[in-house]
């Protein structure tokens, strides 16, 4: 049992913490990047490449850093704290996992160098409007034709699709709409004929798109992994995504709690700092308790994200997401409450944390969803 980072991990943490503090230490810096044409800063994206962060999840054999869930945890905590607008989660955590877990060696050689140098970004086009949190609910189809496939269907809330060069699209090659078997993954260039994007801003300052695939032809080598058997890969991608979002949420909650405690110490009413009032002190303590419980499950999620047994893994991820969601909601709400009026304004960093925590809560399973998963499984032990 050891909760310490290795010396390499500590070095990574120092690097990314310093970059985030320099690049996104203020709300003005964050908003400047959000207002850029891409919705983020191309320059900052290339800095992430220079720092090696874009190489994090790829194996050393593929030219990557060989990082696992703990390295991603370290990076995501810091990126969360900075509300970093660059599409790290969409492209590296989600898209990168699809490549890492499913790509053939030809595909890896073709894609990974440009993913690592920042010239190619990915988006993970899996979710569909009717599917909610059911990972097997895929109505989009891929019909085999001579030399390739034709894709038809719609994908929704595809994070950072409009700035991705390549989409990782899930589509049904066999079976019924909610069958686990019969799903396949495809690499589809975003500018391929028949792909149309309806892009929009998300409530956390990011970007996403709903995508229509209409007679999209892709060659045979666009197939990512084994035909009909992508569900296992998708589950692993999502397990890693939940672990990464858990870390991001913890990074945000930690920053939000610090912001709140600082406010309690400096804001004066009735002639004294409001932090002298016991009712507010106790609320701040409850926020700390929520943060520490979330941190424990963040560590648990990182430990279990790549567990061999998919049943144990997914149960752990559900348990983790329940705790993260609950803590995120509590911390976010209380932070706004303790700040009073200023907490309600977009001028204040805390409000942006609130919005991002809420969106994290709604991604890849809300609390009722994951609680139901754990209950269906008969609990944790």
């Amino acid at each position: 049992m050891d909760f310490d980072l290795s010396s390499e991990q500590s070095l990574l943490k120092e690097t990314v913490d310093r970059w985030v503090a320099d690049t996104y230490g203020t709300l003005a810096q964050i908003e400047a990047s959000r207002k850029a044409p891409l919705g983020f800063s191309e320059a900052a994206w290339l800095q992430l490449a220079d720092l090696g962060l874009l190489a994090l999840p790829f194996s050393e054999a593929d030219g990557g850093f060989g990082g696992g869930p703990t390295e991603t945890l370290v990076a995501m905590e810091a990126l969360g704290r900075g509300l970093v607008p660059e599409p790290y989660f969409a492209s590296v955590v989600l898209g990168g996992a699809a490549i890492r877990l499913a790509a053939s060696s030809d595909q890896r050689q073709r894609l990974i160098p440009s993913l690592i140098d920042g010239s190619l970004r990915l988006a993970f086009a899996h979710g569909e409007r009717q599917a909610r949190y059911d990972l097997a609910d895929v109505a989009t189809t891929a019909r085999g034709i001579d030399g390739g496939f034709v894709l038809e269907g719609q994908k929704s809330v595809v994070l950072n699709a409009d700035t991705a060069g390549m989409l990782v699209v899930s589509a049904r090659t066999a079976g019924g709409q909610r069958d686990r078997a019969g799903i396949s993954l495809f690499l589809v260039p975003t500018d391929a004929s028949g792909v149309s994007l309806h892009s929009y801003g998300t409530h956390d300052g990011g970007r996403a798109a709903d995508i229509t695939l209409s007679g999209v032809h892709v060659p045979q080598d666009a197939l990512l992994g084994t035909e009909d058997e992508a569900f296992a890969v998708i589950s692993r991608i999502i397990a890693g995504a939940i672990a990464a979002l858990s870390a991001e949420a913890v990074g945000i909650m930690e920053a939000l709690n610090a912001l709140t405690v600082d406010y309690l110490k400096t804001r004066k009413q009735f002639g004294v700092p409001i932090g002298t009032f016991q009712v507010l002190q106790h609320r701040a303590v409850d926020m700390l308790v929520a943060l520490e419980q979330a941190r424990s499950m963040e560590l648990y999620a990182a430990m279990m994200a790549e567990a061999e047994d998919p049943v144990a893994r997914d149960l752990a991820m559900s348990a983790a997401k329940v705790q993260i969601n609950r803590s995120a909601r509590f911390v976010a709400q209380q932070a706004v409450q303790l700040h009073g009026g200023i907490g309600m304004t977009m001028e204040y960093l805390g409000a942006h944390y609130f919005r991002r925590l809420t969106m994290i809560e709604m991604m890849f399973g809300d609390t009722p969803h994951h609680l139901r998963v754990v209950a269906d499984a008969g609990g944790l032990a």
């Binding site: 049992m1 050891d2 909760f3 310490d4 980072l5 290795s6 991990q9 703990t70 405690v261 309690l264 110490k265 932090g275 002298t276 016991q278 002190q281 106790h282 701040a284 303590v285 409850d286 700390l288 308790v289 520490e292 419980q293 979330a294 941190r295 424990s296 499950m297 560590l299 648990y300 990182a302 430990m303 348990a319 329940v322 705790q323 609680l371 139901r372 754990v374 209950a375 269906d376 008969g378 609990g379 944790l380 032990a381």
Partner: protein, 398 residues
């Protein structure tokens, strides 16, 4: 970062688990599991089995019978003990007065008391709280006046858990009425057979006799029963209370109760099936289990941090364990109550009724008392509100 146990730790867990489940009598463990009161002899029997093995006081200094275990081993030991529904070695003996005497007592006190404390030859109780001194413990009024080789003690203590069984009581008494609050307090060991001591039972909300009031009327205590120095008692009390707080989360106990609730839910009829088919109930069980999992890891983080610290001082994070641990203990008893449903009304079943209750229902009469009694856990050991104050000051700097 690695949250798993080493092979040595896993082997250790198997060893203690097997011991608890084979050596501690099943009838005692059943009482603990079902939330029924233990007889004095049950505590003695269980603790002497542990003591014979050398496991009653593993956290004590080695020269007084402790084990050379790591904090992680101690954690495993306590968790497995609770999950096996073995009674905890008597808290007042093993976690309170024993460590205090080992740390601050005279060599004569150590020789005289420690072996008997470990073996539960002497049953100790705690004389801290008074009617006017609860969370504000330092405002205690019981006084001890020096008279030659003796102190004369007058006053009243309360909430004295299992004082009805006790041979000795360790007391905080005021020896300097003129000093400021904490400065005038001393730590005295008092024989319960001394003339002038009266024990009055207090029947608690669960209808049981667990705590007492103790009255001291000109009780004569030899000065050799003073621990450490006169007027330094508050320091020793703080040491004791910090010991009390570690391990107070009782995660193993909550896990044992959840496991039992899940077993019972499968045999408790509801509608066409059983309570375990009720997804709403199951979801609330799952919810508590998730909270417990998080707290278990939080506890391991505190233990791992402790293992690295050399000062041995308690971590203020242990206040988090107290708060969440007590809340979750209470949550498990609420689930138990809901599982019993209307049968929760059945008062202590005995005689014919007990015989009538079939195996499916023989636990229901203990559900409500367990729920009632467990309200205490957010009050004792420093109320949860006091723990909030501790964290606000020590961690948040408010």
């Amino acid at each position: 970062m690695d949250l798993s146990f080493t092979p040595e730790e896993t082997a250790f867990r198997e060893e203690v688990r097997t011991f608890f489940r084979t050596e501690i009598p099943a009838y005692i463990r059943a009482k603990v599991s079902e939330g029924r009161p233990l007889a004095r002899q049950d505590y003695v029997t269980s603790q002497r089995i542990l003591n014979t093995k050398g496991w009653a006081v593993p956290h004590w200094p080695l020269e007084h019978g402790g084990q050379p275990w790591t904090p992680i081993q101690r954690y495993i030991f306590t968790e497995e003990l609770m999950q096996a529904a073995v009674p905890l070695p008597l808290q007042f003996n093993c976690y309170m007065i024993g460590p205090v005497i080992a740390a601050f007592g005279s060599s004569e006190q150590k020789r005289r008391f420690l072996p008997r404390i470990a073996n539960l030859d002497d049953w100790w109780c705690q004389g801290f709280s008074e009617p006017g001194a609860g969370s504000d413990l330092a405002s205690l009024k019981t006084r001890a006046v020096r008279d030659g080789d003796e102190y004369i003690v007058d006053g009243q203590k309360t909430w004295t858990t299992l004082g009805q069984y006790a041979d000795w009581i360790f007391c905080l008494v005021r020896t300097d009425p003129d000093a400021k609050k904490q400065a005038g307090i001393s730590f005295l060991l008092i024989d319960m057979k001394s003339p002038g001591i009266t024990v009055r039972p207090i029947i608690t909300i669960d209808g049981r006799h667990e705590v007492n009031e103790i009255f001291f009327d000109a009780v004569r205590v030899p000065v050799e029963n003073l621990v450490g120095e006169e007027n330094r008692g508050w320091d020793y009390a703080k040491f004791l209370l910090a010991n009390e707080r570690t391990g107070i989360a009782r995660i193993g106990l909550s896990k044992e109760r959840i496991a039992r609730i899940k077993r019972l839910a499968r045999t408790t009829s509801a509608g066409q099936g059983c309570m375990w088919d009720d997804m709403d109930f199951r979801s609330r069980v799952a919810s508590v289990e998730i909270d417990l999992k998080a707290l278990e890891i939080t506890q391991m983080r505190v233990v791992a941090a402790q293992a690295k610290r050399s000062d041995g001082k308690p971590d203020p994070a242990s206040s988090i364990l107290k708060i969440r641990g007590s809340e979750l203990q209470q949550a498990t008893t609420e689930l138990l109550l809901e599982l019993a449903g209307p049968n929760a009304l059945i008062g202590a079943a005995s005689g014919d009724l007990r015989n009538d209750l079939n195996a499916e229902f023989d636990w229901v009469d203990a559900a409500a008392p367990t729920y009632f009694n467990t309200r205490k856990v957010s009050i004792y050991g420093g109320s949860n509100e006091i723990q909030h104050n501790v964290i606000a000051k020590a961690i948040l700097g408010l």
